[in-house]
Amino acid sequence: MIAPGTAQGVQAGRARTATEAAARVMVPRGLKQLVYDATGIGVAAVMLFPIYWMIITAFKPGRDILTLQPKWFPAPFTLDNFKDAIARPFFLDDVRNSLVIVGVMLALALVIAFLAAVGTARFGFRGRTAFLVMIIGVQMVPLNALIIPLYMLLDSAGQVDALPGVIAIYLAVVLPFMIWTLRGFVANIPVELEEAAMIDGCTRTSAFFRITFPLVGPGLVATAIFGFIQAWNEYIIAYVLLSSPHNQTLTVWLASFTTNHGPEWGPLMAGAVKG
């Protein structure tokens, strides 16, 4: 066998490709691509199936939902479930609450996380390891177990059943991950770029804002998406700490469809589609 990597090996490789390429490689390559693409579509279909099922259930009239032979398409098509869902009390209130909570939380979180990310990615300081360990360690605590103490804390601050309390909790829950992710993005941008800008006459601050900050853009977007999804979808904290219906979030509103009489699948799925 010819040792790969040697000039001989490469030569031999080239020779082989040249002679056999047309006959042996070209046809399978197209086929291979087809197999890859088909597998990709298959993966997407399997992942999406539950979501698809939710959406078509939302458009089905009640009698078509509870059938022994499921219908793959909402043949008699109805918007009644959506009307039902919107007509339920507090829908708009809860949408607004969700937007306020997530919006305020995210704005604060991005600023705070970005500062900490720069601090830990660009500077070495005593206590940095401890800080990083804390960031990971905090995420190990089960949120369910903290409900009662958190309730007591908010109670003493007069923030039970009020949005600011929940915003503060979400902030503390989402921050560790956001800091960690952003830190990775900042660390991946070479300091040399900033240094080059400083040689060209920038101050350290302006070098940072002109060079590094724009490059962290995608990181900020990715982190914001994560924070958004986490907070938007959170259920148990909002459910326990926001007791009055007009103060609840959309996720809690959705979960309230599962009533004592058993779930009402149609309106539930319709609500979920909008969420």
């Binding site: 490789g13 089960p142 259920y235």
Partner: protein, 316 residues
């Protein structure tokens, strides 16, 4: 940390002090102060309270009176002596291991596949992943419950139509092994988007030249993955494994909802067990004890990953 932190010490004392004063050794502390303030401000008291509760007999009466009865380590002794607790820990660990292994494996395969497919297909797959990720867990578990419904569920219908057996009126949750299998499916399905997107983002950062060079040197696809891609993705695999372990060990919603809010003891994972003790039978002290033990087990399980993760971060 070693290089970054040690560097100032090597400088002459006078310049060291001046630098500390001018460019501010205190500056990084100012940068992390807001996050420490928020995290500690919100979580320090509840965490302390949790440990405090775990050392008391604290039931409904005590909750109303705001006054527990101190029992020291009594709760811990009671829990550790309980054979149910050992079962629950074992079940949780096995469940977590299965979910994390499957999640990482499948997500990596999908991420690698995304590199191979044509652009339009990768957009479709990505959109599907984001869609799944963006749907609240509390909603997706409802969908799954509906799909696995023993009477009207689409899964039973589908499996029967495909001649994989008679699944008409088959209740998946009668048999805990099957039931937990379904739960693994639901958890892994929900976990795949985040992990796939993260791994895929990492894959895009692997320089193509390195892979080409390895190929010229005669490395096959597996060798290229094993010796080029995987080492470069190590930090990402570490953090993703670490987080997945934390999340899957604490799995709650999926089990709670799919089992109609009344999971039998066969389905107790540690988070369900803690919740049942606290809110089901109003033994808040015992519930807190279980939660503390849960964190301790998690620390032991993830110790290696956390250490490696932090070490990787400090090198960068």
């Amino acid at each position: 940390m070693a290089t970054a932190a040690a560097a100032p010490d090597l400088e002459p004392a006078s310049s060291f002090l001046r630098r500390r004063w001018l460019s501010g050794q205190l500056f990084p502390y100012a940068l992390i102060t807001p996050s420490v303030a928020v995290i500690a401000g919100v979580l320090a008291f509840p965490l302390g309270m949790l440990v405090w509760l775990s050392l008391q007999h604290y039931g409904l009466r005590e909750l109303i009176a705001h006054q527990g009865e101190w029992v020291g380590l009594g709760n811990y002794q009671a829990i550790l002596a309980d054979p149910l607790f050992r079962q629950v820990i074992f079940r949780s660990l096995a469940f977590t291991f299965t979910c994390v292994a499957l999640t990482i494996l499948l997500s990596t395969l999908i991420a690698l596949l995304l590199l191979k497919v044509r652009r339009a297909v990768s957009v479709v797959v990505m959109s599907a992943l984001v869609f799944v990720w963006a749907t609240p867990v509390i909603v997706t578990v409802d969908i799954w419950q509906w799909m696995f419904d023993y009477e009207f569920g689409v899964i039973n219908y589908l499996l029967t139509q495909l001649h994989l057996g008679n699944f008409i009126h088959h209740n998946w949750f009668d048999n805990p092994v099957q039931g937990l299998g379904v739960l693994v499916l639901v958890v892994v399905w929900g976990a795949i988007p985040f992990v796939t997107i993260t791994v895929f983002a990492g894959l895009l950062q692997v320089p193509g030249e390195l892979l080409d060079a390895a190929e010229v040197d005669g490395a096959g696809p597996w060798q290229r993955f094993r010796f080029v891609t995987a080492p470069m993705l190590k930090p990402i695999f570490l953090i993703v494994t670490c987080l997945s372990t934390i999340w899957d060990f604490g799995v709650f919603n999926q089990i709670y909802v799919l089992l109609n809010q009344r999971p039998s003891a066969d389905y107790y994972t540690i988070a369900i067990y803690s919740y049942r003790e606290s809110f089901g039978v109003s033994q808040y002290g015992l519930g807190a004890t279980i939660a503390v033990l849960m964190v301790l087990v998690l620390i032991v399980v993830t110790l290696f990953y956390v250490r490696e993760t932090v070490r990787q971060a400090e090198i960068a």
